[in-house]
């Protein structure tokens, strides 16, 4: 089965499209993507929370050796994004690698996150890009 099988694409669509995180009713902490149990305390009492779409870059890494299907996006910038209630790892786009700085404000953008060759599914999800104005 492909990594992005139709079933997986379908099952994960809501949290990929709308930044829906899991929030633990027991310890109160949020996590993304939502899991079946809280990664911090193990509780299975969870509900969902929509994350803010603006955050800050806590850290980042520039990946030059990308898979061939991502060569047109190389180098890929992977960021650890602080959204206040939780943190997540996502691609940082629409910026030159030399212009990325820790602490920069970034906003969520809806993008293609995977394309299965010329005939398979296009998988959409959230990436982040620097807020440049306002």
């Amino acid at each position: 089965m492909d990594w992005w099988s139709p079933a997986r694409v379908w099952r994960s669509r809501v949290y990929r499209y709308r930044l829906i995180a899991g929030r633990c009713k027991s310890c109160g902490r949020a996590h993304y993507p939502p899991a079946n149990a809280c990664p911090y305390c193990g509780s299975r009492g969870l509900d969902n929370v929509e994350l803010p779409r603006v955050g800050r870059i806590l850290s980042y890494s520039i990946v030059y050796t990308t898979p061939f299907e991502d060569k047109d996006k190389s180098p890929v910038i992977l960021g650890l994004i602080d959204l206040g209630v939780t943190r997540l790892v996502a691609e940082i786009v629409d910026v030159k690698p030399e212009d990325v700085k820790m602490g920069d404000r970034v906003e969520a953008v809806f993008r293609r996150i995977s394309v299965d060759g010329g005939t398979g599914l296009i998988v959409y999800g959230i990436k982040f890009r620097p807020v440049r104005m306002g």
């Binding site: 030159k96 993008r111 296009i122 104005m133």
Partner: protein, 355 residues
């Protein structure tokens, strides 16, 4: 169709998305050996280029989120999502469902991808007015979005660009601009086409002007003004489809509009022809600035060919909606200028063997 306020429809929210990347006319001309007068005659400066992970669906979703933010509407109350494009990511699989899901309008909603070259989204506007005015849906979301294609080296490459506009259409009451009426003018005119499986469109060169663009827009606008008993001087702004920076000024002049009425809604010189976004991004820019009581004419055009003309009256509500999302000027000014080689890579003009 002439709408009365009691059973009418209006724009509750408007929003756009323009990708960050720009390529200059000089850069394209240098690459393909065009003389400067070729692009200067088009009235163009730069065009917007979608990034390698963007397509008409991603841009349409960003514009939709901005339109919904401005409207304040609960996405669950959206009963129809119309996605107008001529650059569908899939030949078979709707983009409207992706957008409906991502904004939170699913599952109890219509969702349709529409096709009529550059005026597919405008068909969605007209259908939405009908659905809302008849009471079949409370709100409709209409999106025009394209990553416009052009054969590399074709003169069309100067203008074909990427961008999106979206509108939440709902009852007249509470809207920022009320539709006063509309008119549609279509004929079978082969001015521009793209066959199934073909990557780039073909066009009839000079034939795209007089019998197509000008005849259809003039036909729709004159019919609308006659039905509503209005004349060009009754409008504060007029926005026409913008395949380049020259045609909208010319058609405006032919219809009796003054340059001052056309200037605000003319966005193509800065971002290029966004196809289904073209006139609708112009309308969004006008709503970014319009004052209550002002009247707006907008006339999208699509090859094949047809044009719709709409008259809108701006209401007091426009003032409170304006600042709830980024303006068209925000997106126009937020740019990174790229070279032809980066443009070619981003728009997949370079042949790469993929599995």
């Amino acid at each position: 169709m002439v709408l009365t306020p009691e059973r009418g429809a209006g724009v509750h929210g408007w929003g756009v998305y323009i990708p960050r990347f720009r390529i200059s006319m000089q850069e394209i001309a240098r690459e393909w050996g065009w003389p400067d007068h070729q692009w200067r005659a088009l009235g163009m400066i730069e065009k917007a280029v979608a990034g390698p992970d963007e397509d008409s669906t991603t841009m349409g979703l960003e514009a939709s989120l901005n339109a919904i933010r401005r409207s304040g509407v609960n996405p669950a109350d959206i009963g129809a999502v119309f996605f107008g494009t001529e650059s569908k990511p899939y030949a078979v699989k709707p983009s409207a469902t992706v957008i409906a899901e991502a904004v939170g309008a699913t599952p109890l909603t219509m969702a349709s991808d529409l096709e009529f070259a550059c005026r597919a989204a405008s068909e969605g506007v007209k259908a939405s007015i009908g659905l809302v005015a008849s009471g079949m849906v409370k709100y409709a979301l209409v999106i025009g979005s394209d990553t416009a294609q052009a054969n590399p080296g074709d003169v069309l490459e100067f203008t074909a660009s990427s961008g999106a506009a979206a509108f939440v259409i709902g009852p007249s009451k509470g809207s920022a601009a009320v539709f006063e009426g509309s008119s549609t003018y279509v004929t079978d005119t082969p001015d521009f086409w793209r066959r199934e499986g073909s990557r780039y469109p073909r066009h009839g060169e000079g034939f795209t002007g007089e019998p197509a663009y000008f005849a259809h827009i003039i036909g729709a606008v004159r019919d609308l003004m006659e039905k509503l008993g209005l004349k060009p001087s009754d409008f504060n702004y007029a926005i026409f489809h913008q395949p380049n920076g020259k045609f909208p000024l010319k058609v405006g002049e032919m219809l009796g509009f003054k340059p001052d009425q056309l200037k605000l809604g003319l966005v193509t010189p800065f971002i290029g022809n966004t196809y289904n976004g073209s006139a609708l991004i112009g309308l969004a820019r006008v709503l970014d600035y319009a004052r209550p009581g002002e009247r707006v004419l907008v006339a999208p055009f699509g090859s094949g060919a047809g044009s719709d003309a709409y008259s809108l009256l701006v209401t007091d509500v426009v003032e409170e909606r304006r600042d709830k999302a980024p303006t068209v000027d925000y997106y126009i000014n937020d740019k990174i200028v790229i070279s032809y080689s980066i443009y070619a890579k981003y728009r997949e003009l370079i042949h790469v063997i993929r599995e």
